[in-house]
């Protein structure tokens, strides 16, 4: 009886809980979710080959009153590019509805001459360099019809050598 008790005490003293791998995994998960959340917060689609412009300026990516529209190059064998609003694939009619909601929330007050007053929403277009301009033009027309007048076109900041 006394012998068994002695064995139990010895055995308990040897048991150790190794928390090092757990900490490692927790750190990995933290880094992973930080990166993923940051990218999804910015509504960035990774597969877009942006055009190059050395004059493009970095702006605060989390500023207010802005909506990001991603335009991906057409998939192989297809002609029409894919348009994404808040990382959701949309057609032009749906895009118009979303833009309408965004524009209505930020309409200017008191500056109306006639009709709908302009909206202070800024539309940021992230489009693939291979997309035909007509599709970007369509997106711009949808914005213009909602009286959105601020547009920014995203490009890669690579300086050109002379």
């Amino acid at each position: 009886m006394a012998r068994a008790k002695k064995y139990d005490i010895q055995h308990q003293a040897q048991l150790e809980f190794d928390i090092t791998p757990m900490i490692d995994i927790v750190f990995l998960l933290i880094i992973f979710f930080m990166c993923v959340t940051e990218m999804s917060k910015l509504d960035i689609r990774a597969g877009i080959q942006l055009p190059i412009a050395d004059q493009a300026r970095v702006k605060d990516p989390s500023r207010e009153n802005m909506v990001i529209i991603n335009v991906e190059a057409p998939r192989p064998g297809k002609d029409v590019p894919l348009i994404y609003f808040k990382n959701k694939r949309v057609d032009l009619q749906t895009l118009r509805k979303y833009l309408h909601v965004a524009a209505e929330l930020n309409r200017e007050r008191g500056s109306d001459k006639k009709g709908t007053p302009p909206s202070n929403v800024e539309v940021i277009i992230r489009a693939d360099q291979a997309v035909e301009y007509q599709y970007i033009q369509e997106v711009m027309i949808q914005a213009a019809e909602e009286r959105i007048w601020k547009i920014s076109l995203v490009a890669k900041q690579v300086t050109t050598r002379k």
Binding site: T20, I151, S152, K162
Partner: protein, 169 residues
């Protein structure tokens, strides 16, 4: 004595030395995630442009301001590279036949100097089938020439029928 103790720590049940793989895998995963997400991303910038603010798409009146603006045309040639014109003057091309947007920027600076340093409003009028990268090239050239008022030409929408037709100059 100390060496014996250390060896005992890394010895397996059969007495052989074990290589601890867990920390190595952890570090490799950390590095993998870091290099996937962070370092080689080229910074993204934005080029500003403005759509018609007070006139809207449905206004077809021509104002004096509209007559004075400079038009950059990008014409689709059904080949790889489009042709770019500043007004009616063609813009030079580089050795690969691509439009030289640095030359366009220089021409725009020249125009600005001619008009007494006051930057004229520039309108970009591109054919619909032109690739977006060339439109960005033209916009970049305008920004390089320090032109503040850059607009895009839209197809004209007939308010009665709602149909789209391109504006004539």
């Amino acid at each position: 004595m100390a060496r014996k103790k250390r060896r005992k720590k890394y010895q397996g049940k059969d007495g052989r030395l074990d290589l601890e793989m867990t920390p190595m895998i952890d570090v490799v995963f950390n590095l993998l995630i870091f290099f996937l997400c962070m370092p080689f991303r080229v910074p993204e910038g934005e080029l500003d442009a403005f759509l018609p603010r007070d006139v809207g798409l449905f206004d077809d009146t021509v104002k004096l301001e509209d007559l004075e603006k400079v038009i950059v045309r990008i014409k689709d040639t059904k080949r790889t590279n489009p042709k770019v014109y500043l007004g009616k003057v063609p813009v030079a091309t580089d050795h690969a036949g691509r439009p030289d947007f640095n030359a366009l920027a220089e021409q725009l600076v020249g125009l600005k100097a001619k008009s007494g340093g006051e930057p004229p409003p520039v309108e970009i009028d591109s054919d619909p089938l032109v690739k977006y990268e060339f439109v960005i090239g033209a916009l970049n050239a305008c920004t390089k020439a320090k032109i503040g008022d850059i607009r895009f030409r839209f197809p004209h929408i007939d308010p009665a029928t709602g149909t789209i037709k391109k504006q004539s100059n």
